[in-house]
């Protein structure tokens, strides 16, 4: 497993270099010029040329890329075209919010999804199954902005239990918990639905397994049979989905961040794409890729913890 981890980390380096190249080229090839955005509609041709020069965009693209790569190898992600701040710093201030949000919504998704899936598997084709299925499907078909707005209307505006938006405290504090609850539910429902469906399907397979019968034959209490003997086995495919969704959540926080006025990386990325802030986009993608790969690595390690049969050559 150590070799597996080392191997994956080495692959990660190549992956990241590949990503810098693709993002760099794509951003430069895609239409839209950072200078004309910075200049705005009023900018004259000479204004734009001056901005180009200031940003170093007048150099040949290969030189620009090599400069960028060189910077990265020295741990320097460059400076934002827009704000002139260091890219690393800009991302760093927003990253905790996004990670908090992703983790909190993953927790929500798991808390809702796993039990819902299991219950609907246990009561297959009963009304409980029907309603859990229907609810999870509703969960995946409700657009995030709509759900978010609805939650705001009910819990923040009418009941005034929770704040409308903003996130500036870590989510494990009470204030932070209150702040993150609605966004986490908004973002988590989609994954909860996916997790519920996966749990249901894998649970359906597991409860027919022979070892479940063995557990019953030992006189194990029914709830222990389900929550101990079945769950751990059923969790294996669910963990994959959780890993996939977590990656998706990192990139998918945008709308939630927008609706709940959370200053996160997702929003930063969209803003940066819109303003063609190349260094910011490159840095952000690099970071998201990095986290994503690490999350997947963790998922693979968790696999091995859940399922002793899994080994990595």
């Amino acid at each position: 497993m150590v070799t597996m981890i080392i191997k994956r980390l080495i692959q990660l380096i190549f992956l990241l270099i590949g990503i810098t190249f693709i993002v760099f080229m794509a951003m430069h090839i895609a239409p839209g010029d950072p200078a004309s955005i910075i200049g705005g509609p009023t900018a004259t041709q000479s204004d734009i040329l001056a901005i180009h020069h200031r940003l170093g965009l007048d150099k040949p693209i290969i030189i620009q890329y090599l400069d960028y790569l060189n910077g990265i190898l020295h741990g320097d992600l460059g400076f934002s075209f827009q704000t002139n701040r260091s890219v690393a710093q800009e991302i760093w201030t927003r990253l905790p919010n996004t990670i908090d949000l992703a983790i909190a919504s993953m927790i929500v998704a798991i808390i809702i999804g796993v039990p819902a899936g299991i219950i609907s598997a246990l009561k297959q084709n009963s009304w409980l199954d029907f309603s859990s299925t229907t609810l999870s499907l509703a969960g995946i078909s409700i657009p995030n902005f709509w759900l978010g707005a609805l939650l705001i209307l009910v819990f923040a505006v009418n009941l005034q239990w929770l704040p409308v938006g903003g996130l500036d405290t870590p989510f494990w504090t009470f204030k932070g918990f209150k702040e993150i609850l609605l966004p986490a539910i908004t973002l988590g429902t989609g994954s909860a639905a996916m997790i519920a469906r996966m749990s249901r399907s894998s649970m359906l397979e597991i409860i027919r397994a022979d070892f479940v019968r063995t557990a019953r034959a030992k006189g194990v209490k029914e709830h222990m049979v389900i929550w101990v003997h079945c769950l751990r086995n059923a969790l294996i495919p669910v963990v994959t989905v959780i890993g996939l969704n977590f990656g998706g959540l990192l990139g998918g926080t945008i709308i939630t961040e927008q609706v709940f006025a959370i200053n996160g990386v997702g929003r930063l990325m969209v803003e940066s794409i819109a303003s063609r802030d190349f260094p910011m986009v490159q840095g952000g993608v690099l970071l998201i890729a990095f986290i994503f790969v690490i999350v997947n690595l963790v998922v693979d390690i968790v696999y091995a913890l859940i399922d002793p049969r899994i080994s990595y050559q």
């Binding site: 995946i140 657009p143 996966m198 794409i273 993608v285 890729a289 994503f292 997947n296």
Partner: protein, 296 residues
């Protein structure tokens, strides 16, 4: 010898018919699935006969009758913020949205499944395919879509391509996971003992046994795909904004969420119905494909 053969082949045929009716019976046991199937058929019907079931064009505006609530005379589902008939837009929208959903699910699932099968089966392809999929995954979806559309241009077709590409890595990963465990099964060894080609093993034996997660993925993805068009229209990357398409309708209706909530709710419900229908049919399908479940 001769008469015996014909006899047996007849009996086999009969049992085939029996199997068919038995299958239909099982299918109808899944009441939800029946409802789902009806929903899909109705939507397809509406999509095909959109012209005959509507009395307004889905694109012609009437600025004197905007944001009419559902139940208004002449417009039973109301009108949107340009006075276009919601019912017409919904029905014509079914064409595009179902098309977008279907095609991106099919493209994404077929390619994803293929890559997943290869990655799971051939060790030497595994690292390559999985790292490439990591790479695609690591890109935020919207950026990926923006890049694709920036390179290919704005059109509904490109939206389909973007959404499909977006879904390939997840599908590949899910399929690969099940292939990894399936390929160790004894019956796969048995197939090798028979001298079956890799192609045969992969497509005749591994694939059919790995369908359950693929079905779950594909049916769930149907909804995600249609909703993604909404996210893309939000960025101006979808069809023309006047085109009736559910995702675009939702994103356009967002601004009127408070004033005229039906602009979001109606297409939202339509998407939900589709997702629901495909999922319950998928569930039934999954159960039907599982020989162990047949007797249940």
């Amino acid at each position: 010898m001769q008469p015996q053969t014909t006899e047996t082949s007849v009996s086999v045929k009969v049992s085939k018919n029996e199997a068919l009716t038995r299958r239909l019976k099982q299918f109808f046991k899944y009441k939800l699935a029946v409802i789902g199937l009806i929903v899909i058929l109705v939507q397809i019907f509406l999509a095909i006969f959109a012209n005959s079931v509507t009395s307004y064009s889905p694109t012609v505006q009437d600025l004197t009758h905007v944001n009419l609530k559902p139940g208004s005379p002449g417009h039973w589902l109301g009108t949107d913020n340009y006075g276009r008939d919601m019912w017409s837009r919904l029905v014509f929208g079914a064409r595009l949205s179902l098309m977008v959903g279907f095609s991106s699910v099919i493209i994404g699932t077929v390619i994803g499944t293929l890559l997943g099968l290869l990655a799971g089966f051939y060790k030497f392809l595994d690292t390559i395919i999985m790292r490439i999929s990591d790479l695609m995954f690591a890109f935020p979806g919207i950026l990926l879509a923006m890049l694709i559309i920036a390179i290919l241009g704005t059109s509904l077709l490109n939206v389909v391509i973007a959404i499909s590409i977006w879904s390939i890595p997840s599908c590949a990963r899910i399929v690969r996971g099940s292939v990894l465990s399936l390929k160790k099964q004894e019956y796969i060894t048995a197939m090798r003992a028979l001298g079956a080609s890799h192609f045969r093993i992969i497509f005749q034996h591994i694939l059919p046994n790995g369908t359950a997660p693929i079905i779950v993925f594909a049916t769930m993805h149907m909804g995600t795909a249609i909703l993604s068009t909404s996210a893309l229209s939000f960025l101006g990357l979808g069809a023309e904004p006047s085109t009736p398409e559910w995702g675009a309708m939702i994103s356009a209706g967002q601004q009127y969420m408070w004033q005229a909530p039906h602009l979001v709710i109606i297409p939202g419900i339509a998407i939900m119905l589709v997702v629901f229908a495909f999922n319950v049919v998928g569930d039934a399908l999954r159960d039907m494909l599982d020989p162990n479940m047949k007797s249940r």
